[in-house]
């Protein structure tokens, strides 16, 4: 098979060298520049200072004993008339070198010990892990002093002592990090393939824990620098005639009333060098952990930020006379990414009537969840939300900072998320979590609120609600938790329920029960429902109307009856054709949609579906079609397509995968 008849076009986003990106981000902030430069200076001094000033620092000036600062000796001289500033500079090599040496010993020892459980058998592993845990419990400095006595007083002895004392800590870190990596499926795959333990460690585990280890080693070096200075100061570390900062500090302190600079100079050196290592470690941790926030790009925001608000529509468009509950027009969500704005949601129009149920379907990355979060005002910086209209129940959400609007949102909008385990507080009993809503929003008494909570649990068909209210979320099954979540949502008097993939984490049998419950309680409370799901069958069963999203825009908005009879947009049709059900003919290959949706940064201006569409023309590739009603559709059916299709969905709606002959 040649590359030309590949079934799926391979789209490769250019990969960026990670290391280079790291350095660039490090140097991108003033703090980063300061940290990297100061470490560079410290290391340069450690390398060069003894070579340049080594002899001068040892020269006796018998005419200038114990002098204060002068033009000749900027930090004065010691009891033998040696220049203190030069001695501080020269001492950089020994101070930093010993600290790095101790860190190297600690890291090596830590890696050896920490990876032993992974290489050795299970029993040895458990023993080593327990031994590490015990060793970590001892204070490192105390251990170091103890070891220093064993290994002998002096620089090498102290270095080994500090290294050995730091080993257990790194071993514990290595152990924890490797356990996380080892639980991932690629390690399981390697085990299935019979890859040896040693190779798994070298090829799969270590490369994936290198970064956090390196950061902690940098931070450890800063600590060792301080520890070493302390030990030398106490007389345990470096012995005369050698000198490091700790020893200089000790000597300087004797004559502090004659020349304070003799103590201040080495002290400042210790603080500065320690800070340099510490800052660099912290910054690297931030960059690697992606804790740094992207700065807002300079370029203008795409979207309707300065556009005037549109006139308010009180009653639903078309032939629907129900009150308009939610009116969203031209909604944009933008994120800074690599110095540019990308827009995963690009101008969504969405309107819900009171009591209406609308489903939003789309693949991952289509922007459906972001749309829901933007409506519920749950998106935070660096996301930038803007819309020409964003009204809910008579309140303008564009001005969501006002207390009134927030109170209205809290009262009449409820949100149900996919994973009930992460939206319920695991440390709080379920009953009080429901009761909290009543006390916070309706000023109910504690006892009254709890009674209300029990009543609510029974309303969401949880058997034995009194006992269940006293249980913690982990005692509930997945389906029960989602019921409790729905219960929390309905504690207020919500006019709108937004459910984001509420049953995706559940089994089919439980899914059906939860969906039935959602339908029933919604009908009782007469709330509107915005159901976000990747599952078109679920949405079709629950909603009156379906909004199909693709690459951040609505491509079709239609009544469910028309979705079943034959939608007009090629993407909707392809989605339906590709969905296997209990009647799909088994002897034929499944219909597929070749390729993948474009990422927000890859959009070129034409119809986002054009590259995967069976009927796309040049116009589709150049001009993005607007969402509009067609001549032959009702006002309730809008399509964004230059070549809308008609009739029942069939094989012609997909670019069928051609099987290459072999």
């Amino acid at each position: 098979m040649s590359a030309t008849n590949l079934a799926t076009p391979v789209v490769i986003t250019p990969s960026r060298g990670r290391g280079r990106g790291l350095l660039r981000t490090l140097l991108g902030t003033p703090l980063g520049i300061a940290a990297v430069t100061s470490v560079a200076i410290v290391l340069l001094l450690a390398l060069l200072a003894p070579v340049i000033w080594g002899d001068a620092a040892d020269a006796y000036h018998t005419d200038a004993l114990r002098q204060g600062p002068s033009a000749e000796h900027l930090a004065g001289t010691d009891s033998l008339g040696r220049d203190i500033l030069l001695r501080v500079l020269v001492a950089t090599r020994l101070s930093v070198g010993l600290a790095l040496g101790a860190t190297a010993i600690a890291v090596t020892l830590g890696l050896l010990l920490g990876t032993l459980p992974a290489v050795a058998g299970r029993r040895v592993g458990r023993f080593v892990a327990a031994a590490i845990d015990v060793a970590v419990a001892f204070p490192a400095l105390l251990l170091a002093i103890f070891f220093a006595v064993i290994f002998g007083v002096g620089e090498v002895g102290t270095m080994v002592a500090l290294g050995v004392a730091g080993g257990p800590w790194f071993a514990r870190l290595t152990l924890t990090l490797s356990a996380t990596v080892a639980s991932r499926d690629f390690v399981a795959a390697a085990r299935v393939n019979g890859v040896s333990r040693g190779r798994i460690l070298l090829r799969h585990v270590l490369p994936n824990i290198g970064e956090p280890l390196a950061i902690n080693a940098t931070l450890g070096a800063a600590l060792n620098l301080l520890a070493f200075a302390g030990l030398s100061f106490l007389g345990i570390g470096v012995q005369a005639p050698s000198y490091d900062w700790g020893r200089l500090l000790n000597e300087g302190l004797n004559g502090i009333y004659v020349n304070p600079w003799a103590a201040i100079a080495p002290g400042v050196a210790i603080v500065l060098a320690g800070l340099a290592f510490n800052l660099t470690g912290e910054l690297a941790a931030q960059v690697i952990g992606r804790r740094t926030r992207e700065k807002a790009p300079r370029e203008p925001l795409p979207g309707p930020d300065d556009a005037p608000a549109l006139p308010v529509i009180e009653h639903g468009g078309g032939d629907d006379e129900r009150e308009t509950l939610l009116d969203v027009r031209d909604l944009w969500v933008r994120f800074p990414s690599g110095g540019r704005w990308v827009a995963p949601v690009r101008g969504i129009d969405l309107r819900l009537h009171a009591g209406e149920s609308v489903g939003v379907v789309g693949e991952s990355g289509s922007g459906k969840s972001l749309t829901a979060l933007a409506i519920a005002q749950l998106l935070q910086e660096p996301a930038a939300v803007a819309a020409r209209t964003l009204r809910f129940d008579g309140h303008d959400l564009r001005d969501s900072s006002s207390r009134q609007t927030r109170a209205a949102l809290a009262d009449s909008l409820a949100m149900i998320f996919q994973d009930p385990m992460s939206s319920l507080n695991p440390a709080m009993r379920v009953g009080p979590q429901l009761a909290e809503v009543a006390t916070a929003h309706h000023g109910a008494s504690r006892r009254g609120a709890l009674a209300q909570a029990v009543q609510q649990l029974s309303a969401v068909r949880i058997p034995d609600p009194e006992r269940r209210a006293r249980q913690y979320p982990h005692e509930f099954s997945g389906g029960m938790r989602q019921r409790a979540m729905i219960g929390i949502g309905l504690m207020g008097t919500p006019r709108l329920l937004i459910a984001d993939e509420p049953t995706t984490a559940l089994d089919v049998t439980v899914q059906r029960q939860v969906l039935e419950l959602l339908s029933a309680v919604r009908a009782e409370a007469d709330s509107a429902l915005l159901l976000i799901s990747h599952d078109i069958a679920v949405v079709a069963g629950m909603c009156e109307r379906v909004v199909v999203m693709y690459a951040g825009v609505v491509v079709e908005d239609l009544p469910v009856a028309e979705l079943l009879a034959g939608p007009r947009h090629p993407y909707t049709r392809a989605l339906l054709a590709a969905l296997p059900d209990m009647e799909t003919p088994r002897e034929r290959p499944l219909a597929t949609i070749p390729g993948r949706p474009p990422a927000p940064a890859e959009l070129t201006g034409g119809c986002p579906f054009a590259a995967r569409c069976a009927v796309a023309s040049d116009r589709c590739r150049e001009q993005e079609p607007p969402l509009a009603t067609l001549a032959d559709t009702g006002a309730g059916h809008r399509v964004a397509c230059w070549h809308p299709q008609a009739g029942a969905v069939g094989a012609a709606d997909v670019k069928t995968e051609t099987e290459a002959p072999r």
Binding site: F186, A189, S196, S364, R512, V538, P580, R586
Partner: protein
């Protein structure tokens, strides 16, 4: 072509009174060159069963036989591993620090020099319909669907007789799911593989499988040919499962 047999397979987690029987005396046969679908809800033990079959979980009882011989006997280093597995989450099943080519080559056995390995990687990538030029890329450059094809290629690199596919499409979107299912079915036929296809999605299982086994609480409650089991389910749980599949009466052209 090979047959995989599980006889009285039992897997127990924990000890003493807190022990939990995840798989409880399961008898299951994946016939030569056939696809057996294993359905059940989460916690039913279907994934544990799959892990036991490839030796990732030690069974506490029963036998796992490949063509009548113990499938989990100790193998020498470099010896072929005839049972392979494709995992659910393509974002967790590929090492982010290893290139695609290295990941696939790791499963190969006996292939000699570097050139022959590279040629074999290219062949496998071609087999799963990916550009062989991807071999030098890292997984982060690929989409979920492409990653899952790599995972299939890695499993095939060991030249297996049996593949355990554990929820291989549940992390994928509908539009890529179909392409992967087509590929798996075609490769299975072309290479004469036996396949244990684990999924909670009955529509998907029905489409790929020759036979279906329904699992609940560690036991197989019903098994049989796909046609028979779907048309005349005898176990009440199978019936509940069938009724729970969301259906909607879309109008489609009758396939000619």
């Amino acid at each position: 072509m090979s047959v995989l047999e599980l006889r009285g397979l039992t897997v127990r987690y924990g000890h003493g009174s807190s022990a939990h029987q995840a798989v409880d005396g399961v008898d299951l046969t994946v016939a030569e060159g056939s696809i057996v679908g294993l359905v059940g809800e989460s916690g039913s033990g279907k994934s544990t069963l799959g892990k036991a079959a490839v030796g990732l979980v030690a069974p506490s009882g029963g036998e796992i036989l490949l063509d009548g011989a113990d499938a989990l006997r100790k193998r020498r280093r470099g010896e072929r591993r005839p049972i392979q597995m494709v995992f659910q989450d393509p974002y967790s099943s590929l090492n982010p620090r290893m290139t695609i080519g290295e990941a696939i080559a790791e499963g190969m056995r006996g292939a000699g020099g570097r050139a022959s390995r590279r040629a074999e990687v290219a062949r496998l990538l071609d087999l799963v319909r990916l550009d062989p030029a991807l071999a030098g890329r890292l997984p982060s450059d690929l989409s979920g669907g492409q990653r899952q094809r790599i995972a299939v290629a890695r499993a095939l690199a060991a030249r297996p007789d049996v593949i355990i596919a554990d929820e291989i499409t549940s992390a994928l979107d509908v539009s890529v799911q179909g392409a992967l299912l087509n590929l798996v079915r075609e490769l299975q036929r072309q290479l004469g593989l036996s396949l244990l296809f684990i999924s909670h999605n009955l529509a998907v299982v029905r489409y790929v499988s020759d036979a279906i086994a329904v699992m609940r609480d560690g036991r197989i409650v019903e098994q049989g040919s796909t046609e028979r089991l779907l048309a005349q389910p005898t176990d009440p749980y199978t019936r509940t499962l069938l009724e729970s599949v969301p259906r909607f009466a879309r109008v489609t052209e009758v396939p000619r």
